[in-house]
Symmetry: C2
Subunit: 262 residues, 2 copies
């Protein structure tokens, strides 16, 4: 395995840029998968990565051994970094010291919204994004459409929170959600604490698109006006609203419950 | 309003310690509420804080005006800090520049688990903790019991994610969950991807205690053995599990759905 020990090494500089700049990741069409679990899921679901990077300490770890053996048998290029250099390219606290460099999947935008999907309007928090992707994949949803202002789905933090859900979904970014909704072939549901129709009382046995918005401001008024249903998750007490990822999970699994009950 | 401009001011040093040290917060029995929303909820639900702190820039903001007027009419001590000093005591990115110093509520531990509750075993992530508290309060649950290793509920990050739910709940920390479960007077449900009973098929119209664990390792085996039910949130596809806060939301609102359907 090749070792890189200089911060001036061109490959190391490229890694550093991918690790720290969302713009660089978008431009290069590549991102970093940090941690054994994500790397294993990638190998299993997608295939060999462009590059495997480990820290010197990680080489001692049993769980990394198996991953390296798997990479070796698939002829994946592997490099080792001193711990200090590794930590500068890893955004994960207490990570195990292994990451993959992978190409961000590019999928052709469908001509029409015609199946169960999630639409994210200006969602900001990487943890929320990752949790929503994970819940969507677990509930059998296949498509996720993100507006221009939404956090980049392929950032290391979102990938980490998604726990591999990214590889089970088709994620479309920089989407004009207004145009998508104007041509939608399925009902579009947005949650709102001001709505009167309870989510439990809506027939969810058909495909629907779920629309979620910014953590503080919710879905923009122009999009909300295009939703076919505004629904409320009933609340008790004085709480104003749920966290957006919690709301999404309640919606997706209420749909799954209704589908499996009939 | 008093201004503090020196980093050596004793009150400022105390603030800095509260902002940066979980141990100091626990020892002092005090914490910081950061942001207009949390401060408003506190004034509304609990009463006047010990101290109100604002940044110089915040003084210009309309939304802070109303809060300061409210504090003034309740004779709350207010101090102003230069922005640089303020930002060193605020953990909130892009915050508005206002925080309260408040006493952490102390509530007597109940003798027995005898109503709907949430039990958290070694939960680590502040965002997950805040989301779970928010969902629990919204679903009408009143008690939350946290094991010793669980993230401190009154840390600024958890408070921020909880969006005021803390003030609607009784939160007990450093709880011996094994002892609590041994004497439980309600069914105790733990989610597990290995369980065969679907959460949708369990009768949740009665009070139950929900047990959730560490983000990676789940509930410890000793506690899991004490749960009366292990239940699964059905998944489709190849996703192994949901985010713990997403799971909790699904559980709490499935219970609310069942209760309100009958």
């Amino acid at each position: 395995m090749k070792s890189i020990t200089s911060r001036d090494n061109p490959l190391y500089k490229e890694l550093k840029l991918l690790a720290t700049s969302s713009q660089a990741r978008r431009k290069a069409g590549r991102t970093l998968l940090d941690g054994v679990h994500l790397c294993e899921v990638y190998l299993d679901q997608v295939g060999p990565p462009s590059l495997c990077v480990i820290s010197e300490s990680a080489r001692q770890l049993v769980e990394v051994d198996a991953l390296l053996a798997d990479c070796g048998s698939r002829r994946v290029q592997c490099i080792m970094l001193p711990d200090a250099l590794y930590h500068a390219v890893s955004q994960v606290e207490n990570g195990v010291g292994v990451l993959f460099v992978v190409d961000t999947p590019t999928v052709g935008m469908p001509s029409r919204l015609d199946r169960s999907a999630v639409l994210l309007d200006n969602l900001q928090d990487p943890g929320n994004m990752g949790s929503i992707l994970r819940s969507a994949a677990a509930a059998g949803i296949e498509q996720v459409f993100c507006s221009k202002g939404t956090v980049f789905a392929w950032s290391p933090k979102v990938l980490r929170a998604g726990m591999g859900a990214h590889f089970l979904l088709n994620i479309f970014e920089n989407v004009d959600l207004e145009a998508l909704l104007d041509g939608a072939g399925v009902p579009v549901l947005a949650t709102s604490s001001h709505a009167s129709q309870r989510i439990f009382d809506v027939d969810l046995r058909r495909p629907v698109a779920w629309l979620f918005g910014h953590e503080g401001q919710g879905v923009s008024p122009d999009l909300l006006a295009r939703a076919t249903h505004q629904v409320v998750i009933p609340h008790l007490g004085k709480v104003e609203s749920l966290n957006v990822a919690a709301s999404a999970a309640v919606c997706f699994f209420e749909q799954l419950r209704q589908k499996s009950a009939h």
